[in-house]
């Protein structure tokens, strides 16, 4: 192996898949070989079987739907407010000076620690889940978007001014388009974090969702179901990640040109 030397696509896929195979193999050996008690860790086959039962007989698809809905809902609300605020902070330094210290502070408030408080305030309904995701993603989004917008290449800004751009059109026609691909990347990353918040919210207080199923299964010592739930979360996260990547490449072809 030589440092930094790229590998071919088939090779990359083969290597990526082989780790999954290895992972399941180790898991199978550990469980079928009797090295780990079935009570604490179900084997892969049982996991797949009970996953099938969960979906076909216990309405698990509805739980998945609920969880996806919460993540997407809470994330969209956070993004809808964070985008304009982040852009404004990145573009206008007084606005940044006003919000930045508070947002920086709020960013370190752990979203999961708000759950007990939110249950007191709004109960264990949907508002609580949306609020947890909002708190977890909003402040992160605002700060990162502001940084990206604020880092717009100064020579592009100057070029725009010498072409007669007004301040408003500088924001609209230079700062925003220039930051757009990186903002899309930020959204992709923070959406991944939103997934962990929703599960935490569902673990603590919910009557539906993947997290709720996982807590229920814990009471029944159904590790097969817990693992299936976790894998479902992973798969959905991966799929949403790929969709985002695909959309980014489509919407911002110019940004990918230089990276090849």
């Amino acid at each position: 192996m030589k440092p930094l030397t790229p590998i071919s696509t088939p090779k990359r896929i083969a290597l990526g898949v082989s780790f999954f195979v290895l992972f399941f193999a180790v898991w199978a050996v550990a469980t079928f070989g009797g090295f780990v008690s079935r009570t604490f860790l179900a084997d892969p086959i049982t996991m797949v079987k009970s996953g099938y039962t969960l979906i076909t007989e216990m309405g698990f698809l509805k739980d998945i739907g609920m969880t996806v809905w919460r993540v997407v809902g809470g994330f969209l609300i956070a993004a809808a407010i964070a985008l304009p605020l982040g852009v404004a902070m990145g573009a206008y330094k007084p606005i940044e000076a006003f919000f930045e210290p508070f947002v920086s502070f709020s960013r370190y408030l752990p979203a999961s620690a708000f759950i007990p408080l939110l249950i007191l305030w709004v109960g264990i309904g949907e508002e609580q889940k949306l609020a947890v995701i909002f708190i977890g993603s909003f402040f992160q989004l605002v700060l990162m978007i502001a940084v990206v917008v604020g880092n717009t290449r100064r020579d592009l800004v100057e070029a725009a001014y010498t072409l007669g751009a007004s301040d408003a059109s500088l924001v609209k026609r230079v700062l925003i388009p220039s930051a757009a691909p990186e903002i899309a990347e930020i959204l992709r990353m923070v959406l991944g974090w939103a997934w962990t918040y929703v599960i935490v919210a569902e673990l603590i207080g919910a009557s539906s969702g993947i997290g709720y199923m996982i807590t229920n299964s814990q009471a029944l010592l159904a590790t097969d179901q817990i693992i299936f739930g976790i894998i479902v979360i992973g798969v959905i996260g991966l799929v949403s990640d790929l969709l985002f990547k695909f959309a980014n490449q489509r919407f911002f072809p110019w940004a990918a040109l230089g990276k090849a």
Binding site: A159, A160, Y161, L163, W254, L257, G258
Partner: protein, 260 residues
């Protein structure tokens, strides 16, 4: 009749230690209609600072700059600028880059396209209208930047070592190209460079600046008739003039090295 008057313009920078550095001494320069003035000087002599002050991207400490008897206060579309760094908007195609200033002026779309197309032709980029900047060579990018500045029909063109990042052969072609455009369009140009060959070949006047703090040390008419052919670079007259300017610039470079 001069269209641009630089009157007693100086620039002081604050240093980190709290002191002040004089980058540019009080400078006077009158630029007549159709002048092609090349500004030569050692690096750090303030030639780019002077150009940026004319562009309105930097502010002088003393003095004033007048364009058509109006005091310059900030950048504007009447002074087109081409930078040394590649400043095309990476998210816009060649054609859209050239349209940038036209759209800013609120021209109807079909007129924007028509004007932009004519400049695509003038800089020899037919067939590349829909390419993104990253798909172009350095020389093509700078030609697009030139077209973008010219499409705005500015009173003056300010060029800050626009060919500085190009290889020698491309640079020579670009010089001929720009000269051809200047001869055809009769624009007024301020052109900063540290390439003496380039300064003599293109300029109708060459201005030599001293080492920091910069001041105008020499202002010389270049007598060669237009249209100029690149073969004049090998004539005795050209060599003599280049020799004289080389001595002048060299003295300043040595002075600036000694300062450092």
């Amino acid at each position: 009749m001069s269209i641009l008057s630089i009157r007693g313009v100086s620039r002081e920078f604050s240093t980190q230690s709290g002191g002040k550095t004089l980058a540019l001494q009080a400078t006077n320069l009158e630029v007549a209609e159709n002048d092609f003035i090349t500004i030569l000087g050692p690096s750090g002599c303030g030639k780019s600072t002077l150009l940026r002050i004319v562009a309105g991207l930097d502010r002088q400490t003393t003095g004033e700059v007048l364009l058509d008897d109006k005091v310059i206060d900030g950048p504007g579309a009447d002074r087109g600028m081409v930078f040394q760094s590649y400043t095309l908007f990476p998210w816009l195609t060649v054609l859209e880059n050239i349209c940038f200033g036209l759209r800013e002026r609120g021209l109807p779309r079909d007129q924007q396209i028509e004007i932009a197309q004519s400049f695509v032709k003038k800089v020899g980029l037919v067939g590349f209208e829909n390419h993104f900047p990253k798909q172009l060579s350095g020389g093509m990018q700078q030609r697009t930047a030139l077209a973008r500045a010219l499409a705005n029909n500015p009173r003056m063109l300010l060029m800050d070592e626009p060919f500085g990042a190009l290889d020698h052969q491309t640079r020579e072609l670009m010089q001929e190209h720009l000269l051809g455009i200047w001869e055809a369009e009769r624009k007024t140009i301020l052109f900063v460079t540290h390439d003496i060959d380039e300064a003599v070949f293109m300029g109708s006047r060459v201005v030599v600046m001293s080492a920091r703090p910069g001041r105008i040390k020499l202002d010389r008419e270049i007598p060669f008739a237009h249209p100029r052919h690149y073969s004049i670079k090998t004539t005795a007259d050209f060599a003599a003039l280049k020799g004289e300017l080389t001595e002048q610039v060299r003295a300043e470079v040595i002075a600036s090295q000694a300062l450092a």
